[in-house]
Subunit: 351 residues, 2 copies
């Protein structure tokens, strides 16, 4: 039995989206159970044979500071959902709320895995192969050492291995050129570590990739620090929005273009589907002693349902154990040797 805890209050639309998405998810997954967390007046009426409703007295707002979310709202729906994972009642939690708060509370409640200093956010971006490229970190860590990037690579490999059934997914290091001499000092050092991990069999390391490779689908996983990953993601969203708005405006310009839009409908619809981030909604917070998935705040029922499905797939395929196994195997490489970070709980000595 696999149970997912859902923060029903998070996101731009709250229960208007989360409750119908949960109901649909339960119908589509006869083996799944949900723990639905929210304010009594918002979720109290929800009833399903495979759902338990758990009350929370507070809600983390999208603009709450970490301080407020973490210290003053100890009975928020977000926190209570994560505590369901901590206590073992649920195998994963899903929230569409404030990303920073979700990461901070998850880290506080669940703690990080042995050997991991920094949890990371791993999301999927649709690529030209018809699949998606997993990119991490998407914004949890604005400054990363080379060892952090190696940890992201190991965790991302475990995620893709579990969710895409690809035992040895290809990892690329995001850089500004393919040559090993490119990039800043952190990136060059990360390249060395990743090559070493490739040689020791801990990773399938492809080499450096550039921004356009995310969309080419050159590799399964692209590793970068959270600043760069966030900029790449939002830049792409901005371009996709611009193209979408432009096509809409041009096709509604006059009678002729409106007619053209009808004729071209199937193609435009296919394009929309292809770049539809809703299909890939549900970013994983990796490196914690428990599974947490983040839905986009603007998610609709379809998108939130996809985040639930990803969490469910990860949980029933034991993503957590598989991340831990890979981390343990790569442990000798993961210990910083240059004072750039704390080796966590001393999983391994440098060998």
């Amino acid at each position: 039995m696999t149970t997912i805890a859902v923060d029903c209050m998070g996101g731009d639309h709250g229960v208007g989206v989360t409750l119908p998405a949960c109901r649909l998810f339960l119908e589509q997954n006869p083996g799944a159970f949900l723990i639905m967390v929210g304010l009594r007046e918002k979720v109290g009426h929800f009833s399903h044979p495979r759902a338990t409703v758990v009350m929370a007295s507070d809600v983390v707002a999208m603009d709450d500071s970490l301080e407020v979310a973490l210290r003053r709202k100890k009975d928020s729906s977000m926190r209570v959902a994560i505590e369901q994972v901590k206590s073992g009642n649920a195998q994963a939690a899903v929230s569409a709320g404030n990303t920073g708060a979700l990461m901070a509370i998850s880290r506080y409640v669940l703690k990080t895995l042995d050997g991991i200093e920094r949890p990371a956010i791993a999301g999927q971006i649709p690529n030209a192969t018809g699949g998606a490229t997993t990119v991490l970190d998407l914004g949890a860590n604005v400054d990363c050492s080379a060892h952090h990037l190696l940890q992201f690579a190991v965790m991302g490999s475990a995620l893709v291995a579990v969710l895409s059934n690809e035992e040895s997914p290809k990892v690329g290091l995001l850089n500004i050129g393919e040559e090993v001499i490119k990039g800043n000092e952190v990136i060059k050092k990360a390249g060395e570590l990743l090559r070493a991990a490739g040689k020791s069999g801990d990773l399938n390391f492809y080499g450096n990739v550039e921004g356009n490779d995310i969309f080419k689908g050159t590799v399964d996983i692209v590793v970068c620090d959270g600043f760069v990953g966030n900029v790449a993601l939002k830049t792409s969203e901005g371009l996709a929005s611009m193209i979408g708005a432009f096509l809409k405006a041009e096709f509604s310009r006059n009678m002729f273009t409106k007619f053209a839009a009808i004729i071209a409908y199937s193609v435009l619809n296919a394009l929309k589907k292809r770049v539809d981030h809703r299909r890939y909604n549900g970013a994983a917070l990796l490196g914690l002693r428990g599974l947490v998935f983040k839905s986009h705040g603007s998610a609709d029922v379809l998108a939130f349902g996809n985040a639930l499905s990803r969490a469910y797939d990860a949980a029933r395929n034991n993503l957590l154990d598989r991340v831990q196994v890979r981390i343990a195997h790569a442990a000798p490489l993961l210990v910083p040797d240059d004072g750039t970070g704390d080796p966590g709980s001393g999983l391994a000595s440098k060998t």
Copy 2:
């Protein structure tokens, strides 16, 4: 009289593109003169009343190391073109060659301006307003201090003021959130410096922007380090290529979709024009004692012509003087106070 020196050998297509583009440029700009640099057998036959041909004995290859380009090819077409600017024969140089080599040779031959430690590459990206956002740095500097980012902001403002006739263009700092507390230490410090420059009248500082703002056109200039800028640019190119390839494949799928493509032709053509990077070809190398413009290596005749036009506009509108005036005015802010860089040639004491 404004003269532009052209490296006719650079780029993927060499003289096949540069010579026809130069001829067209001369026809369209009756006040312009060109100094065309290349191998005798490639450019020796070119003749025009407003063009001088200058021979070079070598060519910098796209994959030459900086060492080779700088030390072993001292008579390359790229270097000879830049030397025309140094000697005052030309007011700007244009090359479609190896970006790293172009920056290194430009820096070596021309030197940096007083108060500037790091030259930057400033390019234009089309945005939703129908205009373009100027983004710098696009890859010259993989590690930047807060002071470098401030210098980029001042130089970018001068560039946009000259080329877009917008006296006080809006500057945004690329970050992973709008709030001033977002970002890493360098970005937060850069935000402080930019706000101070805004208050002292040296800049029109808008505040933090995110990746999607590049395409929204929220500001005229987006400032970031070269690693982030390069990733953002290449990620956008990758997404645009993916969408282009997808539309092409979908519209040629069958008779019906081919018919739809004919009907939708005007719209698709307008989209192509809108996101056509050829229109915005010609990135400025800013911060040098001379104007140098970089064309995309894959430029065709139209694109290379646009790079020539941008260089010509910059030269006849005295971009160099205007950058210098702005830098001098902002000098008290540009001097590092934290040992992160050399204040150049001691333009100003800290006040």
